[in-house]
C-alpha cells in the first residue's frame, strides 16, 4: 500500500513537472521545473523500491544511486544551463544597470 502511494506520488510529481515545463514561457522558468523533476520524483521512487525490497539490497542500493546521481548532477546541470542561458541572452553574467538599480 505504501509502495503504491509512493509510486503514484512520484509519477504524479514528475508529470506535474512536465506540464509545468510546457506551461512556462521563458527558458529560465522552464528550468525550474526541470530542476524539480530531478529531485522529487527520483527520491520518491527510490523510497518505494527501498520499502519493497529493503535498503541494503541490490535493487535498493541501485535505486538510491540513481536518485543521488540525478539529484546531484541535475543540480549542477541546472546551474550550468542557467549560466549558459544568461550569457546567451545578456552577453555577460554580471548584473545590468537596471538589475543593480532594482537590487536583483
Amino acid at each position: 500500500m505504501i509502495v503504491d502511494v509512493l509510486i503514484a506520488v512520484g509519477v504524479t510529481a514528475e508529470l506535474i513537472c512536465c506540464v509545468g515545463l510546457l506551461a512556462m514561457r521563458s527558458a529560465i522558468d522552464r528550468l525550474h521545473y526541470a530542476g524539480a523533476g530531478t529531485v522529487a520524483a527520483p527520491g520518491l521512487i527510490a523510497a518505494a523500491v527501498c520499502v519493497e525490497d529493503g535498503v541494503f539490497t541490490s535493487n535498493g542500493l541501485n535505486a538510491i544511486v540513481v536518485a543521488l546521481l540525478l539529484a546531484l548532477l541535475g543540480a549542477a546541470l541546472a546551474t550550468a544551463t542557467a549560466r549558459a542561458i544568461r550569457v546567451r541572452e545578456r552577453g555577460t553574467l554580471e548584473p545590468t544597470a537596471t538589475e543593480r538599480a532594482h537590487g536583483s
Binding site: 503514484a8 515545463l21 523500491v49 535493487n59 540513481v66
Partner: protein
C-alpha cells in the same frame, strides 16, 4: 502488470510535453526540455527494472543518469559559447 509497470507507462506520457517544447521552443528551451526528458526516461527505466524484478536491469538507468549529464553538459558548453 503491476504498479511499477503501470507507473512506467503513465510516466511515458510526460515525454509528450518535453517533445513538444523540443520541437517548437527556442534552442535554450529545447535544451531544458531535453534535460527533463532524460530524467523522465531514467525514472521509467528504474520503474521497469523494479516492475520486472530484475536487478541487472538497474544497470541501464544508472549508466543513463551519468551519461545524460555528460551529454547535456556538452550541449550547454556549445550553447554558452554560441557555437549553436
Amino acid at each position: 502488470m503491476n504498479a511499477w509497470l503501470i507507473g512506467a507507462t503513465a510516466l511515458l506520457a510526460g515525454l509528450l510535453p518535453c517533445g513538444w517544447v523540443v520541437l517548437r521552443g527556442q534552442l535554450t528551451e529545447a535544451l531544458v526540455a531535453l534535460e527533463l526528458a532524460s530524467t523522465v526516461v531514467t525514472i521509467v527505466l528504474v520503474l521497469i527494472a523494479q516492475g520486472f524484478d530484475r536487478s541487472s536491469y538497474f544497470t541501464v538507468p544508472v549508466v543513463l543518469a551519468a551519461l545524460s549529464f555528460v551529454g547535456t553538459l556538452v550541449f550547454v558548453r556549445f550553447l554558452g559559447d554560441r557555437w549553436l
